[in-house]
């Protein structure tokens, strides 16, 4: 167990750096998760609306009430257009609407011209805004009809809202527990990769230092044992990190780990953890300096994250990107996460989930083979 113990001694010496990275990445995942997108499950499309009522009559106030009941109201300063623009650009607000002065008066007179002034996102013709705009139009149209049918504008709007609120009943065909920790596990793919490569290779670079490897290879210590002990020790360290990460999910949902869904996620992330440890080992075997390691770690982790759908859902990625992504374990990790949570057009399907985790397990074996090939080929080299 010489090599095994060595890894821990090296870890002890580098504990400061390791803990620093650990904290950075832990903070990162906490932040991404708390601000990350929630799932797009149907809750009747609510859009984020900033609203300003210049008319301030009972008709206009009814409209404001309806908007605030059916959509999310965003606070915004209509005078500070830069700020409003920033809110829209960053998807904090989809639609800014001003109810113009004279709204009630015009409506009462059957005049539907120029009731609202609106601003939309630059290049932001999303379904949500189109939907909202059509709702506005139908409110105007319905109210107009009530007025034509002999009501006052105030009454007309009240009726319109009443009718509008008796909405189509929508029900789900299945019961589903939704784990808020899902998003956390989704981003864990990135964190596991970047953390394992950065942290583990800090340690592994020492173990794999050129002159020392040469000395080790000269010894009568079997190379297979050497690499297995190294991987074993590194895995134990990263399992430690992983346990902390997994427990971190409880911050978002205290029952996250007790459900089947939670257990599947834990299982999925464990298999992926092993993949990422192996990737870290490969990187450390191939790369000589710590600068190069941080370069590679970011390329590999961000690259996989973007190609495999960690930051941007797989359903949004083009087929070309996905067909490349398929060759990376993160793709299957995310596929499993999507299926476990029933996100992004996939459904909870235990066969699919097992298949995805199975393919990840296959990557574990394949990556191990790659490591052995590299070690074997490095033993006797063309040049040192």
């Amino acid at each position: 167990m010489q090599v095994f113990k060595l890894v821990f001694k090296v870890l002890k010496k580098n504990l400061g750096t390791v803990v620093m990275y650990g904290c950075i990445f832990f903070t990162t995942i906490m932040l991404i998760t708390s601000f990350g997108d929630t799932s797009d499950e149907y809750t009747s499309t609510k859009i984020d609306v900033a609203i300003r009522d210049l008319d301030n009559t009972s008709a206009s106030r009814q409209l404001v009430d309806w908007v605030s009941e059916n959509h999310n109201i965003v606070d915004a300063d209509f005078e500070d257009e830069d700020e409003l623009l920033a809110k829209m650009y960053f998807n904090f607000c989809d639609y800014a609407i001003t109810i113009n002065e004279g709204f009630e008066e015009k409506l009462a007179g059957g005049n539907t011209e120029d009731l609202f002034t609106v601003s939309k996102r630059p290049n932001g013709y999303s379904y949500g805004t189109i939907y909202f705009e059509s709702q506005l139009n139908s409110i105007v149209s319905d109210a107009n009809a009530y007025v034509a049918g002999g009501m006052t504008a105030d009454e007309a709007l009240q009726k319109t809202v009443e009718v509008l609120n008796s909405k189509t009943e929508i029900s789900f065909i299945e019961e589903k527990e939704d784990s808020a920790a899902g998003i956390y596990f989704n981003y864990m793919a990135y964190i596991l990769l970047v953390m394992n490569i950065t942290v583990m290779s800090t340690i592994l670079l020492v173990v794999f230092k050129k002159d020392i490897t040469a000395r080790t290879y000269c010894s009568s210590f079997s190379q297979l044992k050497y690499i297995l002990q190294t991987i074993g020790a590194v895995s134990i360290i990263s399992v430690g990190f992983w346990v902390i990460l997994v427990l971190g999910s409880l911050c978002f949902d205290s029952s996250a780990l007790s459900s089947t869904v939670g257990l599947l996620m834990v299982c999925n992330s464990f298999v992926f953890l092993i993949c990422s440890v192996e990737i870290a080992v490969i990187v450390s075997l191939l790369v000589k300096s710590s600068m190069a390691v941080s370069a590679i770690s970011n390329i590999v982790s961000l690259g996989m994250a973007f190609l495999c759908g960690v930051f941007v859902p797989q359903s949004v990625l083009s087929d070309g990107v996905l067909s490349v992504g398929r060759f990376f374990p993160a793709y299957w990790y995310i596929k499993a996460v999507d299926s476990i949570n029933g996100w992004h057009g996939s459904t909870y399907n235990i066969t699919e989930i097992t298949k995805a985790i199975g393919i990840e397990a296959f990557f574990v074996v394949a990556l191990m083979a790659v490591i052995l090939v590299i070690v074997r080929s490095k033993r006797t080299q063309k040049s040192l």
């Binding site: 750096t17 991404i32 960053f90 139009n137 009809a145 034509a148 929508i170 941007v312 070309g320 909870y348």
Partner: protein, 378 residues
């Protein structure tokens, strides 16, 4: 002497493959990945007919007519299949249809958790509109039948002019462009590592190389200036390549004022290098700790400014705006954003000023820390 120093520092940075990779190679690779990830996003919002199953429990002729009208022709909203409820639920579970419309006393929807929420909203609003119009006609027919004709006329009139649009900007881009602003900023922020090495190599108490240079007769201020200038030039060079790559190779729309990206990048290169130099001049920390600090500035700063999730900067703006004022990565990214998206220069000028102030602070800090010529210990 100045040019001698300048020339060799330039050669040194350009040949420092690993740092070059950061400032240039990495940004280009990541940019390409962003492009791959987001290039498809607009397309995914393009419309295809929504597959819907209709389960008729109670005949409603006028609703059927409405469905026929909506599923007719090229730009049809719906693609409708009639079937019984069990078949419909089965298809719903398989994800073959988005939802099932149940036509009974009332019209209702059955959906699966995988159903696309926008499609559900669209169909439900179609149904809503149908039911509300029916309700209006019923109501008026009951309460005020003499105005029924007027009401029906009003209902069928097209409302087109109720909404006037006030455009906040002429720029035609969405939030995803911010990833590219972040990317260019990240490349420049990595330049701080260049600055770090410039500092480490110039000071006797930090490296053997620095010690050697300290004993040379070149004035320290001259060599420091030459070093930093050469470093700025190489960082700026990298950012020019990145900007050109993003704009012309990837074809990302960077707005009409994109030429101003270059002077901005130049100022930012100064800021980033002086940051690295200042951190590098702190005597007590180990090299690893210094690299760690810069990593926090670049990657964690980048994360806060939206490198990994583009709305992060606005979120910070709304919860702790001070962070956005002092996070160099955010200030830099935001000035690109201001140039590309904002209709005026207010926000841009604010950001640019912040960068200049930061540069001044970092430079002063660096000079004060590195002024000493003798060291208590090496």
């Amino acid at each position: 002497m100045f040019f001698h120093n300048f020339k060799y520092r330039l050669l040194q940075t350009v040949r420092a493959k690993e740092i070059m990779f950061w400032a240039l190679g990495f940004t280009i690779i990541l940019g390409t990945l962003f492009y791959a990830a987001f290039g498809n996003i607009y397309e995914s919002e393009k419309f295809t007919a929504i597959p819907v199953a209709v389960v008729t429990e109670k005949e409603d002729k006028s609703f059927d007519e409405l469905l026929n009208a909506l599923s007719d022709g090229d730009g049809a909203l719906l693609s409708v299949q009639y079937m019984d409820s069990s078949k419909a639920y089965e298809m719903l579970e398989e994800g073959e249809i988005e939802m099932a419309v149940i036509v009974d006393e009332k019209i209702s929807l059955r959906i699966a958790s995988s159903s696309d929420s926008v499609s559900v909203s669209i169909v439900s609003s179609v149904i809503d509109e149908y039911t509300s119009k029916a309700a209006i006609i019923n109501e008026i027919a009951k309460t005020n039948p003499k105005d029924l004709d007027n009401a029906i006329k009003a209902l069928s009139a097209d409302i087109t002019n109720a909404i006037t649009e006030h455009k906040l900007t002429d720029a035609n881009m969405n939030g995803y462009t911010d990833y590219f602003f972040n990317l260019i900023a990240m490349g420049i922020m990595f330049g701080s590592t260049f600055g770090l090495f410039a500092a480490l190599h110039s000071q006797g108490n930090l490296s053997a190389l620095g010690a050697r240079r300290c004993v040379s007769p070149t004035k320290k201020i001259v060599s420091a200036l030459a070093d930093n200038l050469a470093t700025v030039v190489s960082v700026f060079g990298c950012s020019v390549v990145t900007i050109v790559y993003v704009k012309f190779v990837l074809g990302v729309d960077l707005g009409n004022r994109f030429l101003l990206f270059f002077p901005t990048a130049f100022v930012a290169s100064f800021m980033s290098v002086s940051l690295g130099y200042a951190v590098g001049s702190v005597g007590r920390l180990s090299d690893k700790a210094k690299e760690g600090i810069l990593l926090v500035f670049t990657l964690f700063g980048g994360f806060l400014s939206g490198l990994m999730a583009n709305s992060m900067r606005q979120l910070v703006e709304e919860s702790a705006p001070i962070v956005n004022r002092i996070n160099p990565a955010a200030v830099l990214t935001d000035s690109f954003y201001a140039l590309a998206v904002c209709p005026n220069y207010d926000r841009y000028v604010r950001n640019l000023t912040t960068m200049l102030v930061m540069t001044a602070i970092f430079t002063t800090f660096g000079i004060v820390l590195s002024r000493r010529k003798k060291y208590a210990s090496l």
